[in-house]
Point group: C2
Chain length 263, copies 2
């Protein structure tokens, strides 16, 4: 739509914030916190990259569509750990990465979802030869494929896609989600008495704990064999159901109790 | 510069043509064949993707700088087979891929060169977290690195870079170039009596032959164990000095003589 602002959260995943900021700068758009009649796009993450708070795609769609804007959800911290029915949700666009819960390695390819009836009218800004109809004809003008293939740009990286292929071939998201909730519930129960858990009940696959000396605690945990990462005063713990057990969680809780107390 | 057109050849590598066309469409720019005082950028390939004709970076720089435009060279069909001194050439920008002569596999990462004194003033349009100063601070506003790092966007693909790392670690470009010229000269000599070679004396690493039934000839060659590809009525032959010998070229010439004659 030919509108003047984009909605994105101030606490959003930096990748989204920076990219939207660049887009806004190039197109003379503003970035706002809430949608109004001049909003072109509302973009929010399904799972908050810091707290693991789980949003609601339906709320996002309602907020955007109520003012005639497009709704885009970032699945980076949800894809592979939280089941999402994009076609059924009414969301217009979705993006995400495969190097987190899909375990396809650093810099693994990202993905894009475009609602079927928008595919023919939307264009991606980088007109690459993989989006071109009859690409090997190398025709004089750019004439993109009519469907989702038009959003491809260059030749995809085959080595990188091989890792994604393995991850995307796994099935059983319901079981993954159940196991993930069991692991994070056990960790929250176990660690809650010793630290401030900021992850709410409605959550994604990781758990965040606030600690004034987050970086130092994270280093002590690493020395004890527990790899975490920090975002300001938050320490993030990830438990992948395919590689972590309740026993691993119990061990992690013990190490946290020691590390949080400064030892 | 705040100018109204971009110069690119009508016969340029489709990836360049399509991307420039998309850029022109988004920014209201025109694409022209020759530079004038309203030209922002002149973009040409160093090696023609079809004929293998070798251009001159100095000519490109002269054409662009004479009107105050930026000069950009596409090294896709030159990188790894033709030595280029970018810093010494005065060119402003260069792009290229690593999946051709650098053998890093389909979809391997591309590269970008920006003349050192332009690095701080130019921005790339996709503001990703790898271009951000102090990226892990995940600060509120995008504040790009002052140097070439600002042109990075997302996390690079480690698997794909591993292949590039092997290719880029090879040294001895002068020897590669000499061997390449010897191989292509032998092929042109051998095949010239049987077919129309369109590759000029000043050439890159491949040789192109015109044939009215290029696709059928290419299939006959493939059946005989010689892999080529076609672009309209041109058949392209690539000889990599690291994997091909003069003996391979002699065998290729024999197979061509048979295949060109319709057998």
């Amino acid at each position: 739509p030919d509108r003047g602002n984009i909605v994105g959260g101030a606490d959003e995943f930096p990748t989204d914030r920076y990219v939207l900021e660049g887009l806004a700068s190039a197109r003379g758009l503003e970035i706002r916190r809430h949608a109004d009649k001049d909003t072109a796009l509302v973009c929010r993450s399904l799972v908050d990259f810091r707290t693991s708070a789980l949003g609601d795609v339906a709320d996002l769609v309602d907020e955007a569509h109520a003012v005639g804007a497009l709704a885009m959800v970032d699945l980076s911290h949800a894809g592979g750990i939280v089941p999402v029915d994009l076609d059924g949700s009414g969301v217009d666009l979705a993006v995400g990465c495969t190097y987190k819960w899909l375990c396809a390695g650093p810099g693994a390819p990202a993905y894009l979802y475009v609602r079927r009836d928008l595919q023919e009218s939307m264009r991606q800004p980088i007109w690459g030869w993989f989006g071109q109809r009859d690409m090997f004809a190398m025709g004089p003008a750019y004439d993109p494929e009519p469907d989702i293939r038009r959003f491809l740009a260059g030749t995809p990286s085959i080595l990188a896609l091989a890792a994604v292929d393995a991850a995307a071939g796994l099935t059983g998201m319901t079981a993954v989600r159940e196991a993930s909730l069991a692991l994070t519930a056990a960790f929250i129960d176990g660690v809650g008495a010793a630290a401030e858990v900021v992850t709410p009940e409605q959550r994604g696959g990781h758990v965040a704990v606030r600690h004034p000396e987050a970086a130092a605690v994270s280093q002590r945990l690493a020395a004890a064999g527990l790899v975490t990462d920090t975002r300001a005063d938050l320490i993030r713990f990830g438990f992948h159901p395919l590689t972590s057990s309740l026993d691993d969680v119990a061990k992690a809780v013990c190490r946290c109790q020691v590390a949080f107390s400064g030892n």
